[in-house]
């Protein structure tokens, strides 16, 4: 009898040739903890996962194609919208790439202001990570603690750059406007208050035994796998690889500042969490040094209104909040770029989910995805 055309209630139970397969569950694009619109189809056996099939593309906006029809200056506000949790890092990478292509020299004051912006944005991005990590394990409070402190940073950035989430502040040749009055005082106040609040986070979550047991020995990734799949940023450093673009290929004056790179040992989720918390402390050190030694001078180099880079191509990379952001620009001497390709960290990390998660529990998969700290605007572009 043809069983497929009936409703399942009316099917006859034929016990010998019942189709057997693992249960397929769809963690759909509408989900409270998949960091944006991300879908994955999981085959599970009880509580263990057999395989995962990620599906991306729900936030694809065609940014790379739009770039072919805009001038370099007109395209710059769109770059903010890639990794929207730490937008100034994206802008910095794009502007550095175009400046290298056009061989423009940026004055030192602009470089120091850029470093302050980038590091403040890094702290803000890691605070979202902290909140989201708490939410994935089931605690509601860390999310609000993270966002309350993020308000302080966003107020400082609003005073400097004009926006809170998307800025359009760093331009080709320097920054858009100079530092306003009262900025240094506000920044100093922030640097003094913030370590106290960091200590509160440690008491709330990092020392908590339930949290530590949820994160330790979960999602261990080996060094070879990570290097093969193109990981970067804190995800890579969790497994003991000491690689940070700010130390290996310094840009925008990073060689002048004194900071350390935290590196993990085992490569589990807890190490990646602790690395990001330590990075916040190192970022505060960098901001303090940059603010105290702000050189005087111009805030932008003299650049013509319409940018026409010479013919050529360039790939430039920088250390964003989540990992390595790279811009590959091919220019044929026109006002518009001929081809612009963006390399984002989230795209490589999401593809690692399929092998990082097999054999773990469902609850662990969510935690591992949170530890990669992906943002879908960056993955889908």
């Amino acid at each position: 009898m043809n069983n497929e055309n009936m409703f399942y209630e009316e099917q006859e139970l034929v016990l010998d040739d019942l189709p057997k397969d693992y249960m397929e569950v769809n963690f759909g694009p509408h989900h409270p903890s998949t960091h944006g619109v991300f879908r994955f189809i999981a085959k599970i056996d009880g509580e263990r996962i057999i395989s995962i099939d990620p599906v991306i593309g729900y936030l694809h906006r065609g940014i790379e194609k739009i770039a072919e029809n805009r001038t370099y200056n007109q395209f710059k506000p769109l770059v903010d919208r890639l990794d929207y949790t730490g937008a100034l890092n994206n802008e910095l990478c794009y502007c550095l790439a175009v400046e290298k292509l056009m061989e423009i020299e940026v004055p030192e004051r602009a470089q120091a202001i850029r470093v302050i912006c980038a590091e403040l944005n890094r702290i803000a991005g890691h605070l979202i990570f902290f909140g989201a990590m708490g939410l994935e394990t089931g605690a509601f409070t860390p999310l609000l603690f993270g966002f309350i402190d993020r308000e302080l940073i966003l107020n400082i950035l609003e005073m400097l750059a004009g926006g809170r989430l998307t800025f359009n502040y760093i331009t080709v040749g320097g920054v858009r406007e100079d530092v306003p009055d009262g900025f240094k005082a506000k920044l100093d106040k922030f640097i003094k208050i913030f370590p106290v609040k960091l200590k509160r986070y440690e008491e709330l979550i990092t020392g908590n035994e339930i949290f530590v047991n949820r994160l330790k020995n979960v999602g261990i990734l080996k060094r070879e796998d990570l290097l093969n799949w193109g990981a970067s940023g804190p995800t890579l450093r969790g497994s003991g690889v000491r690689f940070d673009i700010r130390k290996v290929e310094p840009y925008s004056g990073y060689e002048k500042y004194d900071f350390e790179i935290p590196v993990g040992t085992t490569g589990d989720v807890f190490d990646r969490y602790i690395i990001r918390m330590e990075e916040i402390k190192q970022s505060i050190r960098i901001v303090e040094q940059a603010a105290n030694s702000l050189p005087s001078g111009d805030y932008t180099a003299k650049v013509s209104r319409i940018l026409k880079p010479p013919e050529g191509e360039i790939y430039y990379r920088n250390e964003g909040t989540k990992g390595e952001i790279g811009f590959y620009i091919v220019s044929k001497g026109d006002k518009n770029p001929y081809r612009l390709k963006i390399r984002t960290p989230s795209f490589s990390h999401i593809n690692m989910l399929s092998f990082a998660a097999s054999g773990n529990y469902i609850a662990d998969v969510i935690v591992i995805l949170g530890s990669f700290d992906t943002v879908m605007g960056s993955c889908d572009r």
Binding site: A139, I210, F211, I366
Partner: protein
């Protein structure tokens, strides 16, 4: 003549008890939102009424007005009856809880035994909701919930046996009367801790809210319910919280103990219960969730041996003290 006055009087007591339940559920939901809000540096509901008191009433009215959706392919009677079944144990137990010396809806000799037996029925509602919704998330949630509730019932029940041994009776009113000189929380510290933890696991409150783990399986067994059926599950969870804290107060914290006056006794009993409810909400807004296997390990490998040891030691001490007294 007399028998139907008796019948009316018992019915009236039951109606008062049920009205008290619904008002308690509304008050507890408001309290949770306010307490959790202040612990997160924000205010809870603020606008309807002073400090947002009427917010829960309006939310319940809104849920009443929603469309009643029954998805295709559900097991119809199971789906419809699950919200009703979830209320039955809570309403039944409520009739046996004494608020003061003579104030209780019914008073039988084995009320503690009856209460603990009926509380086990709430697993059935969870399984019905999980199976009846035609949804894999609900199934996962329902099965997890069944595993959790079954494995935490045993330490909970055994930890109350220590109290029964010390008091010598299973009647809740008698147990409270026997705590005149010293509350049982003092000699039975381990029992109190085990009872409180295991009962938080029974009512699916964080850190044990695995059946409705919001970040993984998006509300678990609740996922296909909307409108007033969802409100039934939601209210039942808070009434369960009240019942469990009330039981803890009666068994370990002396109930209405310093006074036997009905009015003052009720007020003292309610105050102690609300302190325990505040502690449960405090825990709820601080801790993350256990993973399922760590949580089963905790139940079977830590709580169960501890509660058995507690029972054994209590039994030995009670026997020895009796022997000394009779000699």
């Amino acid at each position: 003549m007399v028998w139907w006055i008796e019948l009316l009087w018992s019915l009236l007591k039951l109606v008062i008890a049920f009205a008290f339940i619904f008002i308690t559920a509304l008050v507890l939901i408001w309290m949770l939102r306010k307490v959790m809000g202040h612990m997160q540096y924000r205010r809870g509901p603020l606008h309807h009424g002073p400090h947002g008191i009427w917010q829960t009433v309006f939310d319940a009215l809104k849920l009443l007005g929603k469309e009643d959706i029954i998805p295709t392919g559900v097991d119809r009677w199971t789906f419809i009856c699950a919200p009703i079944v979830v209320f039955i144990p809570t309403l039944t137990i409520f009739a046996f809880i004494p608020f003061a010396e003579k104030i209780t809806a019914t008073n039988i000799e084995i009320s503690l035994f009856f209460v603990l037996a009926v509380m086990g029925l709430s697993i059935l509602a969870l399984l019905m909701a999980g199976w009846g919704s035609n949804n894999k998330y609900a199934l996962l949630g329902g099965l997890r919930g069944a595993a959790q509730m079954m494995s935490y019932e045993i330490p909970m029940i055994i930890s109350t046996m220590g109290v029964v041994l010390m008091a010598g009776s299973m009647n809740l009113t008698e147990i409270v009367r026997a705590q005149q000189h010293m509350w049982y929380a003092v000699p039975q510290v381990i029992g109190f801790f085990i009872f409180f933890t295991a009962s938080l696991a029974e009512i699916n409150s964080t850190p044990f809210d695995i059946p409705e783990a919001e970040s993984e399986i998006v509300a678990g067994f609740n996922v296909e319910y909307s409108g007033f059926r969802f409100a039934a599950f939601f209210l039942a969870e808070f009434v369960n919280l009240f019942i469990v804290c009330a039981l803890a107060t009666l068994l370990f914290l002396g109930g209405w103990q310093p006074s036997t006056n009905p009015v003052w006794g009720t007020i003292i009993f309610l105050a102690k219960t609300y302190v325990l409810i505040f502690i449960a909400m405090w825990i709820r807004s601080t801790f993350p969730r256990f993973r399922l296997d760590q949580f089963m390990d905790f139940g079977w490998k830590v709580l169960l041996p501890l509660s058995l040891a507690n029972l054994f030691v209590t039994g030995v001490i009670v026997l020895v003290v009796d022997k000394i007294r009779s000699v």
